[in-house]
C-alpha cells in the first residue's frame, strides 16, 4: 500500500515535474514572505527586511535541488539524459556507430532467426495437450550387426498392445499413404493417413465438426469412415457443414465423412488431406504387413521406462503364440522402441540445427569482440572528454554509467535491427519452405525469440559498456595525452580481442570447409543413374475396385508404357515399384541365397523392387553381367531376378559367377534364378551406402513411371503423358510428377542448408576478423605516429616501418590461428554426422583455412602499415 503510494508519488514527480517545481516555488516564497513580514514587524524597513531575509535564507536554488533529490527523480532523469546523450553521440559519429550497428544487427539477426527455428522445432513442446505424456512406438531390430531402430509395427502387434498393454491411456497406429478421390469431377491424388481410432484420441485432438473414429470403425465390414482436414474441407466442400454423412469415393471405395479437423491441427510432420479409418482384422501373428507407427498417451505418472517394460512383456506374450515368431524376435533382437513422440516429428534435423546454433553463437561472439574493439578505440579518442568531465567534478561512476548506457543503447538498437532482419529471414524461409524441415509452419518470431534478442542485446551491450567503463577507469584524471608511446594495457586488450576473433573465424572456416569437402564428395558419388534431370517420374496407382485381377493390372501397365514410349522425344520408358531415392515406397525383406545362407538362420535384409524391362536403360544403370528382363519374363511370371553388384560380390568373387544361382524371399518362397547383375544404385540417398538390391520382373498396383527424355519437367510433356494415360483409363490421377533430379537434390538438402548457412557465417566471420585486425593496426599506427615520425626523421627506411607493423599483425594472427586450429579440432566432432567422405581432421581443410585467414589478416594489416611508412615526419610532428 505504502509502496504503491511512494511509486505513484515518484512517477507523478517525473511526469509533472514543472508542476511540482511550481508548488515548491510557491511554498518557499510563502516562507520567505513570512520571514520578511516578521522582520518588518521587528522594525526594519521593507527593503532592509528583504535583504536581511535573503541573507538568512541562503541559496534558494540549492534548497530546490535538494528537494528534488529528496523526490529521487534524479536517477531516472539522469538515465534519460545519458540515453539522450548516447543517442546523439551515435548519430553524430556514424563512422563508429554504423559499422557497430551493422555488425550487431547481422550477429543478433542471424542468431534470432536460427533460434526461432530451433525454438519451434526442438524446444517448443508439440502442439497437443500434455505433450510430455505422448510417446511414439516402433520396434528396434538388429540385422547382420546393423541396428534398425525404427521398424514399423504390424496390425497384429497393434491389436496385442491395444488389448494387453497396461501403461497406455490411449493407443493407436497410423500409416501415411496416398489415394485417388474420384466421383467429384477430375480424379485427384490426395495424401492420406490411415489410422486406428486411438491415434486422434491419444493426441487429444478433437474434430471441429462431427466425431472421432470409434472402435466400431475399425471392424472390417463396417461402413468405412473418413475425417477431412480443414484445408481439404475448405477447398473441396467450400466449408459446407452439411458434408458430414456424405460419401467420398477414395480409391474407388465409398467412405462416409464423419468429421472435420480444426484449422490449426497438425498431424505430426505429415499434412494429410484425409484421415481414413483403418480396419483391423483379427488374425494370427505375422499375417499383416508391418507398416504402422504407434502413438500412445501414457497414463499419468507412468514413465517411458515403465511403459517399455510393459509392452516388452506384451510383445513376448504375443510372439509366444508362434514358435517361428519367437525365434525371429530372438534372432533379430526385436525390442519395442518407445520414445518421446517429438522424436518422430523432428527426425534427424536436430544435429543440423545444433551445429548452426553453435556456429551463430560464435558469430555473435565475434560481433561482440568487434564492437568491443570499436568502443574501446572510441573511448580512447574520448579520453580528453572524460578527463575534462572528471575535472569538472563528474565521479567515475557517472562516467561509467554513461558508457554503459551508451553500450546498451547501441546494442538494443542493433538488436532491434537484428530482429527486423530475423523477421525478414524467417519470412524468406517460410517462402522457400525446405521440405525437410519438420514443424515448418510453427516457426515464427514469438515472445521467446523476442526475449532471446533482448537478452543478446543486453548482455552484449553490458559487455562493451563495462569494458569501456573499465578502460576509462585508467584515465579518470587529465593526464598528459601527448606521450609518444602507447598505453600498454589498452593495446593488450585489443590484441587479445583480435586473437580471439581470428580463432573464432578460423573455427567457422574449418567447419564450412569440411562441409564443402563433404558436398564435393557427395556430388562425386556415381549414384547408379545418369542425367537425372532428363528422367521424368510419375506415380500411379491402380485401385483394386477397378482392376480386380493382377492380369488386368499387368496389361494396363504395359499399355500405358507403350502409349508413353510413342510420345515424340521419349527415349526410354519403364516402371518400378519405386525409383532410386523414392524412400516413401521403400520395401525390404530378408533374401536367402541357395548354398550361401545357412538353413534356419534369418538372412540379411535386401531392398526389393519389381520392375519392367528397360528400367536400367531408362535410368542409365549399367548391367555388369547377364541380361535385362524381357516382357516374356513379366507376362509369363518367370522366376528370374537381377541383383546388385555389391550383393553379387558379397557371395561370389566375380559378378558373372552369380548368374544361374538361385535366391528366394524369406526362407520359404519359391526360388528365382539370377539372370543379371546391375551396377550399384544409391537407393537410400547419396550419403548412405548403396543397399543390396534384388529386382524381380513384375508389377504392383502402386508404381512409378520413369521416362527418359530431354523434355523432362516441361509442362507440354506432362500434358502429353496425361493424355496417353487417360486414354487407357480416364480415372487415374497422376501424382509426384517430378524429375529424378528433384529426388537427388532432396537427398542432399540437409547438408546443403547447413552448408549454405555455415558458409555465410564463415564469410561474416572472416569479414569481422578482417575489420578487427585492420582496426587494431590502424589504431596502433595512429597512437605511435610521433614515435614513427621521429624514427623516420632520424633515417629509418619506410620499408622497415612497414615490416614492423606487418610483423605485428602476423604475430597476432598466428597466435589466433593456432588457438583456432586447436579449438576447431575439438569442436568439429559435433558436426561429425554432417560430414561425408572427409575425416573430421582433414588436413587440407585445416591448412587451407589457416592460409586464408593469414592472407586476410596480412591484407588487413597492409593498409595501416603502408600508411605508417608514408607518414610525413615534419607534418605529423608539427601537428602536435
Amino acid at each position: 500500500m505504502r509502496l504503491a503510494r511512494v511509486l505513484v508519488h515518484r512517477l507523478r514527480s517525473i511526469f509533472r515535474r514543472s508542476r511540482a517545481d511550481a508548488d515548491l516555488e510557491r511554498e518557499i516564497a510563502l516562507h520567505f514572505e513570512q520571514l520578511v513580514r516578521e522582520l518588518v514587524a521587528s522594525g526594519l524597513s521593507e527593503s532592509e527586511a528583504r535583504i536581511q531575509a535573503r541573507r538568512e535564507f541562503g541559496s534558494l536554488e540549492t534548497t530546490k535541488e535538494s528537494c528534488r533529490d529528496q523526490r529521487r527523480v534524479n536517477t531516472v532523469e539522469n538515465l534519460l539524459r545519458d540515453l539522450r546523450y548516447a543517442l546523439r553521440a551515435l548519430r553524430t559519429k556514424p563512422g563508429f556507430s554504423l559499422p557497430a550497428l551493422l555488425s550487431l544487427a547481422l550477429g543478433i539477426g542471424a542468431n534470432v532467426a536460427i533460434f526461432s527455428v530451433v525454438n519451434a522445432v526442438l524446444i517448443r513442446p508439440l502442439p497437443y495437450a500434455s505433450p510430455e505424456r505422448l510417446a511414439g512406438i516402433s520396434n528396434s531390430a538388429v540385422f547382420a550387426g546393423q541396428v534398425f531402430p525404427d521398424w514399423a509395427l504390424s496390425l497384429d502387434m497393434y491389436a496385442a498392445y491395444r488389448d494387453n498393454a497396461r501403461s497406455f491411456e490411449e493407443f493407436g497406429v497410423w500409416t501415411p499413404g496416398s489415394a485417388a478421390v474420384t466421383g467429384t469431377g477430375a480424379p485427384q491424388q490426395v495424401t492420406t493417413v490411415s489410422m486406428t481410432s486411438g491415434v486422434l484420441r491419444a493426441l487429444a485432438a478433437k474434430p471441429v465438426l462431427g466425431r472421432w473414429f470409434s472402435s466400431a470403425d475399425e471392424r472390417p465390414g463396417a461402413p468405412r469412415a473418413v475425417i477431412l482436414s480443414y484445408h481439404y474441407w475448405q477447398q473441396h466442400f467450400a466449408a459446407d457443414p452439411r458434408v458430414l454423412g456424405r460419401l467420398l469415393v477414395v480409391d474407388f471405395v465409398p467412405y462416409q465423412v464423419v468429421g472435420i479437423m480444426p484449422r490449426n491441427f497438425e498431424f505430426l510432420n505429415v499434412a494429410p488431406d484425409l484421415f481414413l479409418a483403418q480396419t483391423v482384422a483379427p488374425g494370427t501373428p505375422g499375417s499383416s504387413d508391418a507398416d504402422y507407427f504407434g502413438v500412445a498417451r501414457l497414463k499419468p505418472g507412468i514413465t517411458l521406462a515403465q511403459a517399455r517394460q510393459d509392452i516388452a512383456r506384451v510383445l513376448n506374450a504375443w510372439a509366444a503364440a508362434d514358435p517361428s515368431w519367437r525365434q525371429a524376435l530372438a534372432e533379430l533382437h526385436v525390442k519395442p522402441n518407445i520414445h518421446p513422440l517429438k522424436q518422430d516429428v523432428i527426425g534427424d534435423v536436430g544435429a543440423v540445427l545444433e551445429v548452426l546454433m553453435g556456429a551463430l553463437a560464435v558469430v555473435l561472439l565475434l560481433v561482440c569482440a568487434n564492437v568491443a574493439n570499436l568502443v574501446q578505440v572510441r573511448a580512447q579518442s574520448r579520453r580528453d572528454e572524460f578527463a575534462i568531465r572528471a575535472a569538472l567534478g563528474a565521479g567515475w561512476s557517472q562516467i561509467a554509467r554513461q558508457l554503459i548506457v551508451e553500450g546498451i543503447a547501441l546494442a538494443v538498437l542493433g538488436g532491434a535491427a537484428g530482429l527486423a532482419l530475423a523477421y525478414a529471414a524467417i519470412r524468406l524461409l517460410l517462402l522457400i519452405g525446405p521440405q525437410d524441415l519438420p514443424r515448418l509452419r510453427e516457426i515464427s518470431i514469438d515472445s521467446a525469440s523476442f526475449g532471446f534478442a533482448l537478452a543478446c542485446s543486453l548482455v552484449a551491450g553490458l559487455a562493451f559498456g563495462l569494458m569501456a567503463a573499465l578502460g576509462s577507469a585508467l584515465a579518470p584524471k587529465l593526464r598528459n595525452v601527448r606521450t609518444a608511446t602507447q598505453t600498454r594495457e589498452r593495446l593488450l586488450t585489443q590484441s587479445t580481442l583480435v586473437v580471439a576473433q581470428v580463432a573464432l573465424a578460423l573455427i567457422l572456416l574449418v567447419g564450412a570447409g569440411l562441409l564443402i569437402r563433404s558436398f564435393a564428395a557427395l556430388t562425386a558419388v556415381k549414384p547408379g543413374f545418369t542425367h537425372p534431370e532428363q528422367i521424368q517420374t510419375i506415380r500411379l496407382f491402380l485401385p483394386d475396385a477397378e482392376f480386380p485381377d493382377s492380369a488386368r493390372v499387368v496389361r494396363t501397365e504395359a499399355q500405358i508404357l507403350n502409349n508413353i514410349a510413342a510420345i515424340p522425344g521419349v527415349q526410354h520408358a519403364a516402371f518400378a515399384t519405386a525409383l532410386p531415392l523414392e524412400l516413401e515406397y521403400h520395401n525390404g525383406n530378408p533374401v536367402s541365397v541357395e548354398g550361401k545362407t545357412p538353413p534356419g538362420r534369418i538372412p540379411p535384409n535386401r531392398t526389393l523392387k519389381q520392375i519392367s524391362p528397360g528400367l536400367f536403360a531408362t535410368l542409365g544403370t549399367r548391367l555388369v553381367a547377364g541380361r535385362d528382363f524381357t516382357w516374356d519374363d513379366l507376362f509369363q511370371q518367370r522366376r528370374v531376378a537381377i541383383i546388385s553388384e555389391n550383393m553379387a560380390r558379397e557371395y561370389w568373387s566375380e559378378p558373372s559367377a552369380a548368374l544361374g544361382q538361385r535366391l528366394r524371399i524369406n526362407g520359404d518362397g519359391p526360388w528365382s534364378v539370377i539372370v543379371g547383375v546391375a551396377e550399384n544404385v544409391y537407393d537410400d540417398g547419396v550419403d548412405q551406402p548403396p543397399p543390396g538390391l534384388v529386382y524381380f520382373p513384375g508389377v504392383r498396383r502402386g508404381f512409378t513411371l520413369a521416362i527418359r527424355t530431354s523434355r523432362a519437367g516441361s509442362e507440354s510433356l506432362l500434358r502429353d503423358i496425361g493424355a496417353r494415360i487417360h486414354s487407357v483409363d480416364p480415372n487415374l490421377p497422376l501424382a509426384q510428377t517430378r524429375t529424378l533430379r528433384d529426388l537427388y537434390r532432396r537427398s542432399m538438402a540437409r547438408r546443403s542448408i547447413a552448408l549454405v548457412l555455415l558458409a555465410v557465417a564463415a564469410a561474416i566471420a572472416v569479414l569481422l576478423a578482417f575489420v578487427g585486425v585492420y582496426g587494431v593496426l590502424a589504431y596502433t599506427v595512429a597512437q605511435r605516429r610521433r614515435e614513427i615520425s621521429i624514427r623516420l626523421a632520424v633515417g629509418a627506411e619506410p620499408a622497415t616501418i612497414r615490416a614492423l607493423f606487418l610483423r605485428q599483425s602476423l604475430a597476432l594472427v598466428s597466435i589466433g590461428a593456432v588457438a583456432g586450429l586447436l579449438a576447431a579440432r575439438l569442436l568439429v566432432r559435433y558436426m561429425a554426422s554432417l560430414l561425408f567422405g572427409v575425416p573430421a581432421l582433414d588436413l587440407p581443410t585445416y591448412a587451407f583455412s589457416a592460409l586464408l585467414i593469414l592472407l586476410a589478416a596480412l591484407a588487413a594489416g597492409y593498409i595501416p602499415a603502408r600508411r605508417a611508412a608514408l607518414l610525413n615526419p615534419i607534418e605529423s610532428l608539427r601537428a602536435d
Partner: protein, 109 residues
C-alpha cells in the same frame, strides 16, 4: 545557516513528525513551533526543513495539501499519515534509547 548535520542525524525527522502529531501545519509554522517549543534553541532553516518535508512525504509518512491558511493565502499543509504515526513511535523509542544511553555515558564516564 543551520545544516542537517548541525542536528543529530535523523533528529530533524523526529522533530517534524512529533510537531505534526498534534495538528497539521505548513512549513513556516513547523519551523516556528520547533523554535518555540525548544526554548529558542533549535532553529531550523528552510534549507534543511523543506528537503526533509519532501523526503518524509516521499516516504509516505506525511501527506500534503494546499489549504487556505492564517497567513492570508493558500499554504501547503502537512499532516501525519497512519504509517507516519507508526514511524514516529519507532523514532521516539530509538531516541529515548539513544538519549538515555548518552545520559548514562555522561554520568558514569
Amino acid at each position: 545557516m543551520p545544516k542537517p548535520s548541525d542536528l543529530l542525524q535523523g533528529t530533524l525527522d523526529l522533530l517534524i513528525l512529533k510537531t505534526l502529531a498534534r495538528e497539521p501545519m505548513h512549513g513556516w509554522a513547523i519551523a516556528k513551533r520547533i523554535l518555540a517549543l525548544s526554548g529558542d534553541v533549535l532553529s531550523v532553516g528552510q534549507g534543511s526543513l523543506y528537503p526533509a518535508l519532501h523526503r518524509l512525504e516521499q516516504q509516505g509518512w506525511l501527506r500534503a495539501e494546499w489549504k487556505d491558511s492564517e497567513l492570508g493565502r493558500p499554504a501547503k499543509v502537512y499532516s501525519l499519515t497512519r504509517t507516519g504515526r507508526k514511524q514516529l513511535e519507532c523514532e521516539l523509542n530509538s531516541w529515548s534509547r539513544l538519549s538515555s544511553a548518552v545520559q548514562l555515558l555522561i554520568e558514569t564516564a
